[in-house]
């Protein structure tokens, strides 16, 4: 196995009303090919920001991203943040960036990667879909990018196939529906279809079950598990729910206040190998989970 992603010393700072705030403070983690890495943390722990930085989607807010994000498509690692240092300048005691040039550079680096090499499923599935386009059209957009050789009918057929693969009850009807006509769980399934139709190397799922009902959440998590069964895809799974992460991931990192407090293989954790960080232990306790060392 070779490393697909290697994040080193990632720092993200934002300007807020109360001054500059460091939301991610020197985070490092890596992801092997075919591995599922769970990132566990509560709101404000910086887990979402870290993954958005990998995706180049931190957005145009005033603030800076520093560190290294090494992504290896197969031809050797490429630092996705390498160019960005050029638009960051010190002003006074802090660093500021030229927003527009920053955005341009991010686009130049990320455009060839988005979709094909890495893609994402976000929380709030209802807001992840274009409200004015049918679900089918949005899946077809992905299909067209992945398989440009297909004609109209072929694309529509593939889109329906994908909708069926994410276990929609009536894929044909969903194909011609709009986001507001579907429930949150259905929207999330549609988003997963949109993302997977591009056959990405790395899928980033950012709290995909937050705000969904208990049973629906279980279904979505199970769907992820099934879609990952062949292990050809790597995934970063971000969640605040320790059960989900333990269920899906091979390895988890636990984040708190912008820092990684623990990295542990799920098998070790379940077997009770080694000491747990007190914070991880409290998360386990809150979820009524106890793993004892097998003697």
């Amino acid at each position: 196995m070779s490393r697909l992603l290697d994040v080193r010393d990632l720092v993200i700072e934002f300007d807020t009303r109360h001054g500059r705030k460091r939301v991610v403070d020197g985070v490092s983690f890596h992801l092997e090919r075919g591995e599922v890495l769970g990132i566990l943390g509560e709101s404000g722990s910086g887990k979402t920001m870290s993954t958005l930085a990998v995706l180049g989607l931190v957005g145009g807010r005033p603030g800076v991203v520093q560190g290294q994000v090494l992504f290896d498509e197969g031809a050797g690692p490429q630092d996705l943040l390498a160019d960005l240092g050029r638009v960051v300048k010190p002003r006074g005691d802090r660093l500021v960036k030229n927003d527009r040039r920053w955005q341009r550079l991010v686009h130049r680096t990320m455009r060839p990667l988005w979709g094909r090499a890495m893609t994402a499923v976000f929380q709030n599935p209802r807001h992840s879909l274009d409200p004015l386009m049918t679900i089918g059209a949005q899946v077809e957009e992905s299909v067209r990018l992945a398989q440009p050789e297909l004609d109209r009918a072929g694309r529509a057929g593939r889109a329906v196939e994908w909708l069926a693969r994410v276990q929609m009850n009536d894929p044909k009807r969903v194909h011609s529906s709009y986001a507001h006509e579907l429930s949150g769980g259905m929207c999330q399934r549609a988003m997963i279809a949109v993302a997977l139709a591009r056959a990405p190397m790395l899928l980033i799922a950012d709290e995909p079950t937050t705000g969904l009902d208990t049973t629906v959440r279980a279904e979505i998590v199970a769907l992820f598990r099934e879609l990952l069964a062949d292990r050809r895809r790597s995934m970063l799974y971000i969640s605040h729910d320790i059960r989900e992460v333990l269920f899906l991931a091979d390895r988890i990192i636990v984040m708190r206040h912008g820092k990684v407090v623990e990295t542990v293989a799920v098998a070790d954790l379940k077997a009770g190998v080694g000491e747990r960080h007190p914070y991880t232990a409290s998360l386990l306790a809150a979820a009524d989970l106890a793993f004892e060392a097998a003697a």
Binding site: L55, L57, G59, G60, D99, R100, M110, R111, W114, G115, R116, M118, T119, A120, F122, N124, H127, S128, L129, D130, P131, L132, M133, E141, S142, L145, Y178, H180, E181, M191, V194, A195, R198, I204
Partner: protein, 325 residues
């Protein structure tokens, strides 16, 4: 129900609503006429109106009947486009014959001005994006200039225009190209351009439009679904354009009344013989059939533009139909 049928029903419902509104608004106008102090007909008709004309007015506006039947009599006449005859401004001619050509000028002038404002605001929002510190300071003076009333702008521009014409344009004669849609009453297009400019720069219209569009655009760029489109590797501009359409059209319709307010005085300053000019002339001469006719036309335009925006929104945005009429 099929989507097309639901759309049709929604559009029909909206049109019905607009008609009811128009009726209500015309009722307000009618009641205003009836509330004239003293003997209504003496109070509202110009001095020296002959008794037979007064009698005719009395009948035309149903002032001799109770308010409700009088209103409906007047409404039916108006609905047929018959607002009576002008008393002074174009004595003896029917109001519509005078007002309609003038109204076309006003409509085209304000419509095009607003379109130019929209285009400029959109362009500015696309080019400038998020305002940085220094830019914000620059917008200050621009803000002051553009919040000045359009008539103040017009006065300043008219002074400039006079001066310019004196200096350079006096001998030139402008020829209207045959394809040109605006009826030209003066020899030069310049007054129209200047009037448009005054409207564009005045009444806080541009900055308001610009800020609204910029906020909308920023909101869209930060929207989660745009991030999702990026993440799947597709181009975002198509999605952004589609989602901008509704706010642009609504913004256009919402600002038309502002422009229609400003156009009245600006036309007067540049002596463009549009409906605003006519309105002020008629008002000065107490030629109230003309005043009432033009008021109804303006009101109908406001309601009509809102209706068009509503229907368009229903066509573009599938959530509208779901929300129900």
């Amino acid at each position: 129900m099929s989507r097309a049928l639901r759309l049709l029903l929604a559009a029909a419902g909206r049109t019905g609503g607009a008609l009811v509104l128009l009726m209500g608004a015309s009722f307000v106008i009618y009641i205003t006429i009836r509330s004239a102090p003293g003997d209504a007909i003496d109070a509202i008709s110009p001095m020296g109106t002959p008794p037979q004309v007064k009698a005719r007015l009395l009948a035309e506006f149903g002032l001799d009947r109770d308010p409700l039947t009088g209103y409906f009599a007047w409404l039916f006449r108006s609905a047929r486009g018959d607002f009576g005859d002008s008393l002074v401004v174009a004595a003896g001619e029917s109001v519509m014959a005078v007002a309609w050509p003038a109204f076309k000028i006003t409509l085209i002038l304000s419509g095009l001005t607003l379109l130019a404002s929209l285009a400029l605001a959109l362009l500015g929002a696309l080019v400038l994006g998020r305002p940085a510190g220094r830019q914000q300071l620059l917008t200050g003076p621009l803000y002051v200039i553009t919040s000045a009333p359009s008539f103040v702008q017009a006065v300043l521009l008219a002074q400039g225009l006079n001066w310019t014409i004196h200096r350079y344009w006096e001998q030139l004669n402008y020829e209207t190209p045959p394809w040109y849609p605006i009826p030209i009453y003066t020899d030069s297009l310049m007054p129209y351009v200047f009037a448009g400019l005054a409207l564009l720069l005045g009444d806080g219209l541009f900055m308001d439009f610009f800020n609204a569009i910029r906020a909308e655009l920023e909101g869209l760029r930060d929207a989660q679904f745009i991030a999702a489109v990026k993440a799947k590797g597709a181009r975002t501009w198509g999605h952004i354009a589609r989602n901008m359409l509704v706010p642009l059209v609504s913004g256009y319709a919402a600002r038309l009344p502002i422009v229609l307010g400003g156009v009245v005085i600006v036309e007067y300053i540049f002596t463009l013989e549009g409906a605003g000019y006519l309105l002020l002339e008629a008002s000065r001469e107490r030629d109230f059939p003309v005043v009432v006719g033009i008021s109804v036309l303006f009101t109908a335009t406001v309601i009509g533009s809102t209706l068009i925006a509503d229907v368009l929104r229903t066509l573009v945005d599938p959530r509208e139909v779901a929300r129900g009429g």
